[in-house]
């Protein structure tokens, strides 16, 4: 019996598989998105269900500048990875540093906001349901930003020491996926908390 020649696949075709790092990171992102989904759902579910004040309109300031900073940091980290892939370590250092600075500005903005609300306006996680959901959701995001910032600064320090080479571009790209995810989540959180929820 003769073999039926498979018309499309030839036996000598290339054997290529997806990259481990990227797959792993995308999976982590999948798991993290599930966590965020639950927090976002509970935020939306509890909107307007607080038994006492203050309400979102009374207390929230829309962090436009911080949002712009965080979102543009996605762009800068993209440039940084692209530069590293082409082997331009100076440009990499610049763009990576810019990402770090923008991220720091964002977290500083959140911290200042929280300080204002907690110590000046006496609005804490215990105050009411809105406080609970607000601080949890934004706090969960902020903690992810913080983890990202630790990673960013680690790579930055290594880059300053001249340890980050072209062959590390893949790893930096995997890391940048995480950072893009953190930014994308902020788009959702921002929409839910500051646009819809107010």
């Amino acid at each position: 019996m003769s073999a039926i020649p498979a018309p499309i696949s030839s036996p000598e075709r290339e054997w290529s598989l997806p990259s481990r790092g990227k797959t792993g990171m995308l999976n982590l992102i999948l798991a993290e998105s599930a966590i965020f989904t639950i927090f976002v759902i509970s935020y939306i579910f509890y909107l307007g269900k607080s038994l006492s004040g203050p309400t979102p309109v009374e207390i929230l300031h829309v962090p436009i500048l911080d949002t712009i900073c965080l979102l543009s940091s996605s762009l800068t980290i993209h440039f940084a990875v692209a530069a590293l892939r082409r082997g331009k370590s100076k440009a990499f250092l610049f763009w990576w540093g810019a990402t770090l600075a923008l991220g720091l500005k964002f977290i500083e903005g959140t911290a200042a906001d929280w300080y204002q609300m907690i110590y000046r306006e006496n609005f804490s996680i215990k105050t009411n349901l809105f406080g609970t959901t607000y601080y949890s959701l934004v706090g969960l995001h902020a903690s992810h930003v913080t983890v990202g910032l630790i990673g960013l600064s680690l790579v930055f320090l290594l880059a300053l020491a001249g340890k980050v080479k072209q062959q590390h571009a893949e790893r930096c790209e995997v890391f940048s996926l995480y950072w893009h995810f953190v930014d994308a989540v902020w788009v959702v959180v921002f929409t839910v908390v500051y646009l819809v929820g107010r």
Binding site: I4, P5, P7, P11, K163
Partner: protein, 288 residues
């Protein structure tokens, strides 16, 4: 066939040693540290502090394990001969169709369209019988429609018999959705099932299945939905089911069964024509 030897799975020389990731305790330290951080929450803060320190050490240790270069260790390859063979040399074939060496089930099916057409035709027949019943018994063709709607829209059953005979848009929509979806699904089922009883498909689809279904509904509806049960005339119910079964079954078997095309290469199924494509006729003889 290319780089594929007939006696072994793998081609190429056996290496002397193989590089594997080095063993390390840092993941353990990190895991223990993180657990201690949480344990501190239920015991005393000092435990969390210790856990934090351990986690830091663990993380740094792990980091140095993979950066700048992953630590590896070489494992010498054991000398061994692996022969893959079996004592069960004979291969028997289940005889379904003599010309087929390896068979895919089923050999022939009715096309999907036949199921859809059958379901739709059956639904019309069933609706006709049911409406005749409504017209004869209650003087209104809307009566069975409203009853069907009441299956999911429970409030309808609070209505009096007079109201049930009136036209209601909501109930009509509910009933139509239910009726059409179910009919389509059952029609599709008929399309798949009828080839399994090749000699008397009409007996199965047209009489036995509706009788079974009517019997099942008759026996459980009193428990599940007593209010609805009180309003059903079972002779007419069975008659409408059989009407569906007969019409749907007849429509389905009027189509000619087609051979399954699962074994045909994807490209051919997609309709690509090119040289080197196997002939369909030859194909049939050689596939399971």
């Amino acid at each position: 066939m290319s780089a594929y030897s007939e006696t072994n799975l793998s081609s190429g020389e056996r290496p002397r040693e193989i590089v594997l990731p080095a063993r390390t305790a840092w993941p353990l330290v990190l895991a223990f540290g993180l657990t201690l951080v949480f344990t501190g929450l239920v015991t005393i803060a000092a435990v969390s502090l210790l856990g934090g320190l351990l986690s830091l050490f663990g993380a740094v240790g792990w980091f140095r394990e993979v950066l700048p270069h992953e630590r590896h260790e070489s494992v010498p390859v054991r000398e061994e001969v692996i022969v893959i063979a079996t004592e069960r040399r004979e291969v028997a074939r289940i005889q379904i169709a003599p010309e087929l060496q390896r068979l895919r089930f089923p050999i022939e099916v009715y096309p999907v369209a036949s199921g859809i057409r059958g379901g739709l035709a059956g639904s019309v027949a069933m609706a006709a019988v049911a409406m005749i019943y409504g017209w004869i018994s209650q003087g209104s063709i809307w009566y069975p429609v409203n009853l069907l709607g009441a299956v999911v829209y429970a409030d309808a059953l609070q209505l009096t018999a007079a109201r049930l005979a009136q036209f209601s848009m909501l109930l009509l929509l509910v009933a139509l959705t239910l009726h059409l979806t179910t009919s389509l699904l059952v029609g599709l089922l008929y399309g798949t099932m009828l080839p399994m009883l090749p000699r008397h498909p009409i007996l199965l689809g047209g009489v036995i299945a509706p009788l079974f279904w009517s019997g099942l509904v008759y026996s459980v509806l009193g428990l599940v939905h007593p209010l609805l049960n009180a309003r059903i005339n079972w002779w007419w119910f069975t008659a409408s089911q059989i009407a569906f079964g007969l019409v749907a079954g007849l429509v389905v078997i009027r189509h000619t069964p087609v051979r399954v095309r699962q074994f045909v290469p994807l490209a051919m199924r997609a309709g690509i024509e090119a040289t080197g494509m196997p002939e369909e006729k030859r194909d049939k003889g050689e596939n399971r």
